[in-house]
């Protein structure tokens, strides 16, 4: 799990869970990882982002170099031709090629800046409202938390700056189980299954396995859920899969 350091108005420090997509927009020094698995997962995610950016930049730079090379070739051709018209035409070609090269370079820079902006802290900081909400979470009672979860589930657009992942540690197991059932029934996809499952009860997971081995919920990503099942349920899922292959 990835946690972000938040300093309250009274100076106390709390840590709130964030998704990896939100974490890339934060200052790395303010992030804490609950385990090596989360840190490695996040590092891999960052590497993927950087690789994609590099590939795009390299592609566009290569194109710009090719156009520049053409400009140089044009100039050489121009010298050997020696007629006024040929020289004039050559100048026009090299001028347009130079402009094209500049355009490509600019779009490369624009793309790089766009990606950098998308992971820039200032572009995507939480609103003060969601920060206040997060700092209030430990003090909300069961009724308030229930209401908050219902609001997030039914009106996700109003709470786009507050991820459900941040609320999960404060919810009663029963509430997490309800969210899990909603997810299985396809009525709630605002959260990834791997973020939700650690907070779901063994009983709810066992009931899920009961249905899974009957052939239901085949569209659910069992690989994400498997590490969180009890030993007995892991064996059941394993035997079901073996029989399926045979």
């Amino acid at each position: 799990m990835i946690l972000k350091k938040v300093i309250n108005n009274d100076g106390t420090i709390i840590y709130v869970p964030v998704t990896k997509e939100d974490a890339v927009r934060e200052d790395l020094d303010s992030l804490v990882f609950s385990d090596d698995f989360s840190r490695d997962e996040f590092e891999n995610y960052l590497e993927d982002l950087e690789e994609r950016l590099e590939e795009e930049t390299v592609d566009l730079e290569d194109e710009a170099e090719e156009v520049e090379a053409e400009v140089v070739d044009d100039k050489k051709e121009e010298e050997s031709l020696f007629t006024k018209e040929a020289l004039e035409m050559g100048r026009k070609i090299s001028e347009s090629a130079r402009k094209a090269a500049e355009k490509i370079k600019k779009s490369t820079m624009d793309f790089s800046n766009k990606v950098k902006d998308s992971i820039d802290l200032s572009a995507f900081k939480s609103t003060s409202k969601s920060k206040k909400l997060m700092s209030m979470l430990p003090f909300l009672d069961e009724e308030d938390l229930n209401e908050l979860v219902n609001e997030i589930v039914n009106n996700p657009e109003d709470y786009k700056d507050l991820s459900l992942v941040e609320v999960l540690p404060f919810l009663e197991t029963e509430q997490c189980d309800k969210l899990f059932i909603l997810y299985l029934e396809g009525n709630f996809k605002k959260i990834s299954i791997s973020s939700l499952v650690p907070f779901v009860s063994k009983e709810a997971l066992s009931k899920f396995v009961d249905e899974y081995v009957k052939g239901n919920y085949s569209n659910v990503n069992i690989d994400s859920i498997l590490p969180f099942l009890s030993s007995k349920d892991v064996k059941r899922v394993f035997m079901y899969n073996l029989k399926k292959d045979d």
Binding site: T12, D36, P138, F139, F199, P227, L229, K235, F238
Partner: protein, 159 residues
């Protein structure tokens, strides 16, 4: 719950027992060597289909491969070393591991502490509140204050 770190070590041990390199195992499973490496350090976990194949390659049961019947051994000075953190927290909550929670609370992250406190609140975990309460932050104390238990005023020494 599965201890993915322990399973990674098991995969590594079984691979070496069978005199296979990571590349050899990767080829048999049609995955990359990096995949195998990540399983062995516990960074990622093999898919169900891969687990089925691993039991066949190593000729072991699923219980052995996933260390389902092994006793959990922890070091009180660092309860998480050699194990997946979430696995240890869940094991403390379901009683598979016996630890003195107030003494090891400092080793846990804020979210892990919340999971322990939630278990205490839901009566899934029994802890000496006198020892635990002073080790909590004020937010955590307030979270627990919703419980109907006697709260000690440690500053004043009153009950």
């Amino acid at each position: 719950m599965i201890d993915v770190v322990l399973v990674g070590k098991k995969i590594s041990a079984l691979r070496k027992e069978n005199k296979l390199t990571q590349d050899d195992l990767a080829s048999k499973l049609f995955v990359t060597r990096q995949n195998v490496s990540k399983w062995e350090v516990g960074t990622t976990f093999p898919s169900l289909d891969t687990l089925v194949e691993l039991t066949k390659i190593f000729n072991v049961s699923i219980e052995e491969l996933l260390c389902l019947e092994e006793d959990i051994v922890i070091n009180d000075d660092d309860i998480f070393v050699g194990h997946n953190r979430l696995f240890i927290i869940n094991s403390i909550i379901d009683g598979s591991i016996k630890v003195d929670v107030p003494s090891v609370l400092y080793q846990m992250s804020p979210v892990e502490r919340m999971m322990i406190l939630r278990a205490i609140k839901e009566n899934k975990l029994q802890v000496e509140m006198e020892e635990l309460y002073p080790k909590l932050t004020s937010s955590e104390q307030k979270y627990l204050n919703n419980m109907e238990v006697a709260i000690y005023d440690f500053k004043k020494g009153n009950k």
